[in-house]
Amino acid sequence: MAVISFIDAITMAMREEMRRDPNVFILGEDVGVRGGVFRATVGLIEEFGEERVIDTPLAESAIVGVGIGAAAYGMRPIAEIQFADFIMPAVNQIVSEAAKMRYRSNGDWFCPITIRAPFGGGVHGALYHSQSVEALFTNVPGLKVVAPSTPYDAKGLLKAAIRDDDPVLFFEHKRCYRLIKGEVPEEDYVLPIGKADVKREGTDITVISYGLTLHFCLQAAEKLAEEGISAHVLDLRTLYPLDKEAIAEAAAKTGKVLIVHEDNKEGGVGAEVAAVIAEQCLFDLDAPIKRLCGPDVPAMPYSPPMEKFFMLNPDKVLEAMRELAHF
C-alpha cells in the first residue's frame, strides 16, 4: 500500500468519485487551473474539464447555494470553501437550506452536497486563516459534520460524504495536509460516517480528539507508555451527529477522560462529548472530565509567539494526560 499525504488522499478520493459518477463535480474559488490554493484539486480540471471543475465567482453563499440547487436536482456537487473561516457568508444556505430540505419537504427532496473546508491553525494564517469553525455546525440536525485525521480516513470518509444522500460538511485540518502521511489503498473503499474510531487501545486513561490534535494525543500516548501509563485514544472522525456509543464505551473503559481539541473550549465539540459521558456513564468515572482546548479568544494571532501560545502541541497534551493519569 502506498504511503501518501493527507491532501493526496483528498485528491484521490475526488478523482475516483468523479471517474465513478459523472454527476460528481467540483465548484469553488481557484479550484480549476490553480488546482486550489492548497492544491487539493490539482490535476482535476485537466482530467475532467472546466465544466466539472468550476472556478466560481468569489461568493461563498452562491457557491453553496448553487451547489444546493444542483444537488437537489440530482447532481453530486463538492463545494470547496477556500478556508473554513470563509464559510460564514454561506451559513444561511448551509443551515437554513441544505440541512432542512429533506425535513421540510417531508422527504420529497434531499440535498447530497459535500462542502469541503480546510480548517485549523499552526500555519501562520493569523485570525482568519486558522479558525476551527466546526462548533457552529454541530447543533444543526440534517447536517453531518466530518473531520478525519489520517489519510486513510480522509479518503474513505470523503468518498462516503460524496455518496451520502445528505449534506456533509467535510473539515480538513490544513496543517495535516502535508504533515500527516499514511497508508492508503489504491482501491475503492468507503468508511461509515457517524462512527468514531479507536486509534490506540489503552487501559489507564481515555483521550478523545479529532483532527490535528489527535496526532498530538497519539504522540503523547507513545511517550506516556514509556512512563508505564496506557492511554486509550478515540478519534471522533464524525463531529455531528456524534458516535455516542463509542464515546461512552471509551470513557467507561478507563474511567478517566481527557477531551482535546484545537477549537476554543467553551461551547466546543468537547462540551457535547463531556455531556454525553456525564449523562450515560457518570458512575464509571474516576476523575472529573477534563478538556484541553484552544483558549477562549476570538482566533489565533499571527505573531509567532502568540500563535504558539494558542496552539496545542504534544507536550501540552502529554502534561494534561499525565496529570489525569495521576489523578
Binding site: 466539472r52 448553487v66 444542483a70 437554513s96 417531508n106 440534517g142
Partner: protein, 330 residues
C-alpha cells in the same frame, strides 16, 4: 370590439380563458384562507392577491412538467398552473399529513413537489435564487433544455443571495428567469426605503444580461416578456431579470395590519387596477366572456374551493411522532 392583444403574443382564446380561470382560482383559494383564518381554523395566510396576473402570465410562458420552479411564497398562481390543486393548497393551509408540499410541516406558501418540478422552498427570503441557478447549471451540464423560473419580492432583491445568484448565472449564461414581483411594499417598508433605483430591472446590466420592467397587472404583457426571456434562455442566450410591477391588495399576511403603514385611499386606488377585474373586462371586450360565462366559471371555482376546504378540514393530521422522521435519509 377591441383588438385581441393576446393573439399578437401567440395566446389562443382557450389559453386566455384558462389563464383567467387560474387567476380566479388563485384569488378564491386565497380569499377562503383569509375567511378560515378569521374563523380561527387556520393559523396563517400569506396572499397572492393583486399578483395573480403576473404569476399566471409568467407560468403560461413555461412548460409544465419540463421547466423548473423555485417560486416564492406568494406564487400561488404559478404553482396552480404547474399542477397543484385547490385541495393541495388547502391541505397545506390546514397543515394536514397529505399536504404534498411538506406534509404539514411548513406554513402555507412554502411550495414544493418533485412531481411538479417545484423545488422545496423555505422562509428566509431569496435563498431560492442560487438554487434556481444551480438547477440551471445542472441542466446545462446534462444538456437538458429546460429553463428555471425563480421569483421574489422587490424587497428581497436587496439580499446578497439575489446578487450572488444573478452574477453566477450571468457568468455562466444559464437559463434562469429572475422574476421580481414588485408589489411596492416589503411588509410595511415602502419601495423608496428599499431601493433607490428606478426599477429593479436596472440591476440586470450589472450581471451582463437583459432586464425588463413590465406591467404586472396585465397577464398578456407579462406572458410576452416572459416568453421572450424563456426563448432566450432556451437557446443559450442566458438569463433575464423581469420586474413585474403590481400592488399587494391585502395585508402582508394574516398577522399584519396594513393600516399602520398605508392609507385606505391608496389601497382603494390600487383596487381599481385589480388584475382580475381588468382581465375580466378585457375578456369581455374581446368577446370571450360575458356575465353568464363568468358566473359559471365562478361557480366552478367556488365548488373546487369548497370541496378542497372540506376535504382538507377533515383530513388527518400527521402523527405527532412523525416529527422525528426525514431528518436524514435511511
Amino acid at each position: 370590439m377591441t383588438t385581441k392583444r393576446h393573439e399578437q403574443v401567440g395566446l389562443t382564446d382557450a389559453q386566455v380563458l384558462d389563464m383567467y380561470y387560474y387567476m380566479l382560482l388563485a384569488r378564491k383559494i386565497d380569499e377562503r384562507q383569509w375567511l378560515l383564518n378569521r374563523a380561527g381554523k387556520v393559523p396563517f395566510v400569506i396572499s397572492c392577491q393583486g399578483q395573480e396576473a403576473a404569476q399566471v402570465g409568467a407560468a403560461f410562458a413555461l412548460r409544465k412538467g419540463k421547466d423548473y420552479l423555485c417560486p416564492y411564497y406568494r406564487d400561488l398562481g404559478v404553482v396552480l398552473v404547474f399542477g397543484q390543486t385547490a385541495r393541495d393548497c388547502m391541505l397545506s393551509a390546514f397543515a394536514k399529513a397529505e399536504d404534498p408540499n411538506s406534509g404539514g410541516r411548513q406554513m402555507p406558501g412554502h411550495f414544493g413537489g418533485k412531481k411538479w418540478n417545484i423545488l422545496t422552498g423555505s422562509s428566509p427570503v431569496t435563498t431560492q435564487v442560487p438554487h434556481a441557478v444551480g438547477i440551471a447549471l445542472a441542466g446545462k451540464m446534462q444538456k437538458k433544455d429546460f429553463v428555471v423560473y425563480t421569483s421574489f419580492g422587490e424587497g428581497s432583491s436587496n439580499q446578497g443571495d439575489f446578487h450572488e445568484g444573478a452574477n453566477f448565472a450571468g457568468v455562466h449564461k444559464l437559463p434562469v428567469i429572475f422574476f421580481c414581483e414588485n408589489n411596492k411594499y416589503a411588509i410595511s417598508v415602502p419601495l423608496k426605503k428599499q431601493l433607490a433605483c428606478e426599477s429593479v430591472a436596472d440591476r440586470a446590466i450589472g450581471y451582463g444580461f437583459p432586464g425588463v420592467s413590465v406591467d404586472g397587472n396585465d397577464p398578456i404583457e407579462v406572458y410576452r416578456v416572459m416568453k421572450e426571456a424563456v426563448e432566450r434562455a432556451r437557446s443559450g442566450g442566458g438569463p433575464t431579470l423581469i420586474e413585474a410591477v403590481m400592488y399587494r391588495l391585502v395585508p402582508h399576511s394574516s398577522d399584519d395590519d396594513d393600516r399602520t403603514y398605508r392609507t385606505r385611499e391608496e389601497v382603494e386606488e390600487a383596487k381599481k387596477k385589480d388584475p382580475i377585474l381588468l382581465f375580466g373586462q378585457y375578456l369581455k371586450e374581446v368577446g370571450l366572456m360575458d356575465e353568464n360565462k363568468e358566473q359559471d366559471l365562478l361557480a366552478r371555482v367556488q365548488m373546487e374551493v369548497d370541496e378542497a376546504t372540506e376535504y382538507a378540514e377533515n383530513a388527518p393530521y400527521p402523527a405527532p411522532e412523525s416529527t422525528l422522521t426525514h431528518v436524514y435519509g435511511e
